[in-house]
Symmetry: C2
Subunit: 336 residues, 2 copies
DNA sequence: ATGAAAGCGCTAACAA
DNA sequence: TTGTTAGCGCTTTCAT
């Protein structure tokens, strides 16, 4: 089958011992220059590369990071994954990616599997179901093995580990404030992701700002049945005399725009729209969507940096930190 | 650091030899039932799991597949990855994902890296640069090591391996035919992905159909500078009196719709639009885009199936095959 | 029915 | 300067 060159073969061919060859390859000063050269020559002739498995078994390090994502068809996570991959590969780490499809059970299974395949560390965004059930034993278990975890975006307070999050509350406040500043009075907040911690924060932020302004109304629409989102939003827009919408996820905002077209409302003249997550939909809607960018790539990259850093500088008694990545409101054409 | 239970520890605690424990765990009939039970009991007490690294080193199998993708922010590849992941994990395989960002150099680097970390096989979609340069030595090299490859979508004739592709030519023919059937006469073909093999096939298909119909005109617009796509398309639409557009990629189609809005053209009344790749943009454009679905998830899933199958049934002298996944035209609201 | 020993490919302490 | 040896955790052949 596979017939890669090993130290043994090099050693035999050079009439040296395995350890001499091994040391030569590392330019160990205790080996004569002549030998080192001979070894290097033959090694590069055969294009020798050490067997990563054996090195890992020996060193107890795999240079591999396990990534657990709830979804990949969601642009936010795709971008985060991109950021992670970029950053990890920069430091010579590989990533093993698992997608939980928002299922708790799959998440547990994957985390265990990755743990037994000896990843050096984890980067995780919790599945929706896990957040709802709030069951996190699988992470406690890997922490007992001293395997570091970095959580991002979908995090849990129950686990003491590094976290990289977005300041969803502030982001939401800013978005609402922007709507107010551009003369919106009756603002709708539409969400299809009610169960998530991030959604709650966004909701809180919105409420706080609205509560401070007597002349502003906030109407909340939470959509659970994902089949019917378009019709629900259409009905909602028709029956409520609003002048602005904050979509808590990208699709909600995109659909709002489309349903406005359908109903003949002009954007942003009749209704201003702001969405969360600056993905493809926002860039390619008409008019282009004003969005809260969570800088997903940065988020992922930062998570990877923190983990790699932790892994490469194995400090004693590590104290975990939570890092907040700033959001920004990208003003496009769906607001005044 | 990590303190997983090993066979050795179980053996010591049970006063047995390592090999007896190992065999017991596999319910080897030559071990007494009583011993087997004792072993199993202690093993599950400690939640023993074999060290995957050691098993791999021994068996020369890692149960890991290397995935090489040109992009991940592109919905097509995200869907394919999803399909791959689902299918692979179903068979107990992990996936290591690398993203080349369409760069030849990165692709080479990743393929070598994956090869040295001993993945059992590869699933690859070539980067644009690799297709243009047509340099494929890195794959020949892993084939010499007898590591199986499955290419999908972006494939190369130079490499003799399993392939899963979409019948882009037929898909394009069907799309054009549909436009003709709905009374379009002057069709524009817009592409931003000229260099790719798939684009060439789509172009060929379109030309073939148009050539057969004397009363139909085809105008081709190839956009190279990705910064300026919107403006270019807008200008093109204004200066050409066309009644249909086939976008060879999803963005081209989405932008066509948006620029039509801007110019006041009605879709589909003034211009019919069909796109390739049935992604988020198509579902959330207004009006909803009629698209050629390449069934990216199926494509990925199929690639994974073929590879896993090959891996798990290590037949002698394998003859490679190319599988074609049918496309379908999803009729939505951007055509009559 | 159980165990000893070799070996997967590599590293590193220790010997020579 | 080079080589011997043990060991990472596991499987497997060959004793006992």
């Amino acid at each position: 089958m596979r017939k890669k060159v090993t130290l043994k073969q090099l050693a035999r061919e050079l009439n040296l011992s395995i350890s001499t060859v091994s040391k030569s390859l590392k330019n160990d000063p205790e080996i004569s220059e002549k030998t080192i050269n001979r070894v290097h020559e033959l090694a590069s002739f055969y294009n020798y590369k050490p067997n990563a498995l054996a090195v890992s078994l020996k060193s107890n390090k795999t240079k591999t990071i396990g990534i657990v994502l709830p979804e990949i068809l969601n642009h936010f996570f795709a971008k985060a994954l991109f950021g992670i991959e970029q950053e990890a590969s920069k430091s010579g780490y590989k990533i093993v990616t698992c997608i939980t499809n928002e299922s708790y059970e799959k998440e547990v299974e994957y985390v265990e599997m990755l743990n037994y395949s000896s990843v050096d560390g984890f980067i995780v965004a919790l599945s929706q179901e896990t957040q709802v059930l709030n069951k996190l034993d699988h992470y406690q278990s890997i922490q007992r093995d001293n395997v570091p975890i970095v959580m991002f975006d979908r995090v849990s307070n129950e686990i003491d580990c590094d976290k990289v999050i977005v300041d969803d509350k502030v982001a939401s406040k800013n978005a609402i404030q922007y709507l107010i500043d551009t003369n919106c009075k009756k603002i709708a907040l539409i969400t299809t992701i009610g169960g998530l911690s991030v959604a709650k924060l966004r909701l809180e932020g919105a409420r706080e700002v609205v509560d401070k302004n007597d002349d502003i109304t906030l109407i909340e629409l939470e959509l659970k049945d994902s089949n019917n989102v378009e019709a629900e939003i259409e009905k909602f827009l028709k029956n409520n005399d609003i002048d602005a919408v904050l979509g808590l996820d990208e699709t909600a905002a995109a659909i709002t725009i489309n349903m406005s077209h359908k109903l003949g409302y002009k954007i942003p003249d009749d209704i201003s729209v702001i969405g969360f997550t600056d993905g493809l939909l926002s860039k390619h809607s008409y008019p282009k969507l004003t969005t809260v960018s969570q800088h997903a790539e940065d988020l992922g990259a930062r998570a990877a940096q923190i983990l790699v850093n932790h892994l490469d500088n194995n400090e004693e008694k590590y104290k975990s930190k939570t890092e907040i990545v700033k959001t920004s409101l990208i003003i496009r054409d769906s607001t005044n």
